[in-house]
Amino acid sequence: MSDASFAINESMVPRVPIAAPGDYLALLKPRVMSLVVFTALAGLLLAPSPPHPIIGFASLLAIAVGAGASGALNMWYDADIDALMSRTRQRPIPAGRLAREEALAFGLVLAGMSVLTLGLVANWLAAALLAFTIFFYVVVYTIWLKRLTPMNIVIGGVAGALPPMVGCAAASGSLSLASFVLFAIIFIWTPPHFWALALLRSEDYGRAGVPMLPNVAGPDRTRLEILAYSILLAPIGALPYLLGFASAVYGVVAIGCGLALARLAWTVFRERRGDVATSAARRLFLFSIIYLFSLFLTLVVERLASPWFG
């Protein structure tokens, strides 16, 4: 045998990753995951029959991991455009700390385990809904719609709105009216939230070729859509009170925050030039987070406090 037969190709040497556990955690999009857990908790507590605390905790953990798996699969598919946008350039794949295949494997394993765990711990309706949520976020939103249409986040919003229904199904094995209302709140909240961000980051999205509404229909049309959705959101946000499954305190919070959000959307609609317009969009984006957090926090606190206050 000649020496030549021992020649080793560099590409055949296994690649040893340098990713730290923190990089894998970043793949899970912890901030999105915390919002998912929070909204799923509200769905769980509003279910007709709240579960045993351990079962509830295990269910929320499975839902959180399922949400994280969606984030990892999103970063696997979007690594090319993440590298082009300043907001996402430091994510583990574009930064070179993780290979795309590693993110894909990580996401698929977590997705499978989270669905299986939720099925075994809670029930198979909740597991099927979680699997559908992951499928919708990864395949329908990330792979199909995100690069195709400016309505990407409107339709894709379904994935973000489903966790309260998954939580409700995990708790009771069925879907209540309350879970549909929580779905509607998040679904209508999503467009003004992301379009406010898109107004601020339109250059980023344009560079990456993502057809967000400001890049396709223009900022003025986006401002009109933001206003329309924000006005629609105010009464929908108050529905839990109007339908009788939240207290008057929630009603006051929801109506107050809804009016404030609509007012900020009006400012975004009116102010169209310069720093004033940028600042209005930023204020709306930040307040939209506070809006959703306040509503769901009130619901969660009300339910947790109900054994003491009736």
């Binding site: 190709n9 040893v16 990713a19 730290a20 556990p21």
Partner: protein, 61 residues
């Protein structure tokens, strides 16, 4: 054997030689996986106890 036949990061006798950074990150990943598996086992243990309820201590006749 010619030196050029040994790709960067490998050694003829030892195989792949990790850089200190690679070794450090692998150790951290192993610890994280170990903790995750331990938590997973503890979770399923607790869930099993809750699901079985009082029947956990009942022996079959």
């Amino acid at each position: 054997m010619m030196a050029a036949q040994t790709p960067k990061g490998t050694n003829e006798k030892k195989g792949i030689v990790l850089t200190p950074e690679q070794a450090r990150s692998r150790r951290a990943r192993n610890i994280a996986i170990g903790l995750a598996v331990a938590l997973f086992i503890a979770l399923f243990y607790l869930v099993t106890i809750v699901k079985l309820g009082g029947g956990v201590a009942r022996l079959p006749a």
